[in-house]
């Protein structure tokens, strides 16, 4: 049977405080993706969303699937959304499985966020209101002023720095590379040049992570169409060659067995267990950079370098630059192009594999792209291969 594949992609306007309705953003990305795939909305028979409309920090979720279904008057066999999945790419992985199982032909997958506008309206961050009590695993974290994923992630970053001697100067290459690429992407939100001195002088957020190690909330929506590879029409199919979504350790920020990696350790291992390709076959990698340290962990988890060696691997930035052996964050990543919960990275991988990157296009036309999303106890990754 033909593999499942991405056969079209679309992005809405993306930016800081667009003051646009999240449903409008969603319909913009969805209609563009359907058109990009050469389909009509009558062809769509499945929808998958991350995360859908859920109880979460204000603006994190977009519209729920039933709203999108009704707005586009879709006729569906199947749908799936939510947070309880294998990282942000979980609903898309579910879509690939739905296509493989034969219950759907064309699944519309979307991820919408309007955190930037929502936070502006609420005049505060997504922190729980005082008086609310923390529940579940957060009951053991929030009372200690660990309000943000930045704090939880910083605990891993410090552990990794202590174990391997990695420095802020090395980590900086993730933010500097993303910003350099963003300068060539007209849709990126932060495009001004960033220097190492500028990085090191930035406000500390939670040691050792400073301002430029943290991604930026935006408003925007990404959609892709997942179908069988032989159903591709306008675009060359980007076959989903392999999926990594394993979680073999304890699913907890505090209790994961190794605080110098995260769930991506298991997802990355699974990706290669299920593929005939190897890390050296990857032409472009869009690795999750919600926080810069995640990218180091993904590089190691995916076998691009050994455990503890990511700092040396990226040290002068040349290897991961647009013209390097392993270009990363070619559109600016989440650090400079905005927090689209992994789907901006997925979209950029598609753009690169289709050769539509313009000024930021990787010159030697990429055939194999790697998309990885998640940090802490969430991880999922995909190998995309241009047919």
């Amino acid at each position: 049977m033909a593999k499942s594949a991405v056969i079209g992609a679309g992005a809405s306007d993306i930016g800081r405080r667009l003051n646009r309705d999240p449903m409008a953003l969603t319909l913009e990305s969805c209609t563009r993706a359907i058109e990009d795939a050469g389909l009509k909305r009558e062809d769509i028979d499945g929808v998958a969303a991350y995360p859908g409309n859920i109880v979460a920090p204000v603006g994190y979720g977009g519209p729920q699937i039933s709203e999108v279904q009704d707005a586009l008057r879709l006729s569906l066999n199947w749908s799936s959304s939510g947070l309880e999945s294998t990282g942000q790419l979980g609903p898309l992985i579910n879509a690939a499985l739905a296509v493989q199982s034969g219950i759907c032909n064309h699944v519309l997958c979307y991820c919408t966020t309007w955190e930037s506008t929502a936070q502006g309206l609420a005049s505060k961050s997504g922190v729980k209101p005082v008086g609310d009590r923390a529940t579940g695993q957060f009951a053991f974290m929030l009372p200690f002023g660990a309000h943000s994923p930045a704090n939880w992630t910083a605990l891993y970053a410090q552990h990794y720095f202590d174990e391997f001697g990695t420095t802020r100067e090395e980590l900086a290459q993730i933010a500097l590379t993303a910003r350099a690429n963003a300068g060539k992407n007209p849709k990126a939100v932060y495009r001004d040049p960033l220097t190492l001195d500028g990085y090191l002088a930035a406000k500390m957020i939670s040691t050792p992570l400073s301002l430029y190690d943290c991604d930026v909330p935006v408003d925007g929506s990404i959609a892709v169409i997942v179908s069988r590879a032989d159903a591709a029409r306008k675009r060359p199919a980007l076959e989903i060659e392999s999926i990594g979504c394993a979680m073999r350790g304890r699913p907890s920020w505090v209790d994961f067995d190794d605080l110098s990696t995260m769930a991506m350790r298991d997802a990355g291992k699974m990706l290669w267990e299920k593929s005939t390709l190897k890390p050296s076959d990857v032409d472009v990698a869009e690795l999750y950079d919600g926080f810069s340290i995640f990218t180091l962990f993904w590089l190691e988890a995916l076998g691009f370098c050994k455990k503890g060696e990511a700092g040396a691997f990226i040290r002068d930035g040349k290897r991961i630059a647009l013209d390097g052996a392993l270009p990363l964050a070619t559109g600016g990543g989440q650090l400079s192009a905005g927090r689209l919960n992994g789907y901006g990275l997925l979209h950029e991988a598609c753009i690169q594999l289709w050769g539509d990157g313009g000024e930021r296009q990787v010159k030697k036309q990429p055939k194999v792209g790697l998309v990885a999303s998640g940090g802490g106890p969430f991880a999922g990754c995909l190998l995309l291969q241009r047919a």
């Binding site: 505060k124 922190v127 005082v130 009590r133 200690f144 660990a146 605990l155 410090q158 939670s206 209790d255």
Partner: protein
Amino acid sequence: MGMRILPEVTPATASFWRSGADGKLRILKCADCAQFVHPPAPSCPFCMAGKLSPEVVSGRAKVITFTLNHQRWSPLDDAKVPYAIAVVELDEQKDLRLMTNIVGCAPENVRTGMTVRVTFEKADDVYLPMFEPC
């Protein structure tokens, strides 16, 4: 620290959050396999057999990682920054961990590997286990 977000106290977690009333830290322990279990669970995940009951522990621990938080996450947050958030491992058992704050020393002096002991901060109806150098 300023206004804290307090934990919801459930039947399963009450023994942990109220333990500090007498200055002692208690962790659930399995009557069969003698393993400590945290966060609180309804049954022992090691042997799936034994009954779990709160047991007093030494309160001694080691910092296995930490971060100094410099950011105010809400306009309502009046905490003095930076403050030290840490993950400590209790002496009683490998990987028996708590997230906590390190108090009783300048945040800049916190280091991985530091030995620390428990001290409690009462907040409303709970006693938050904090740790200080020893």
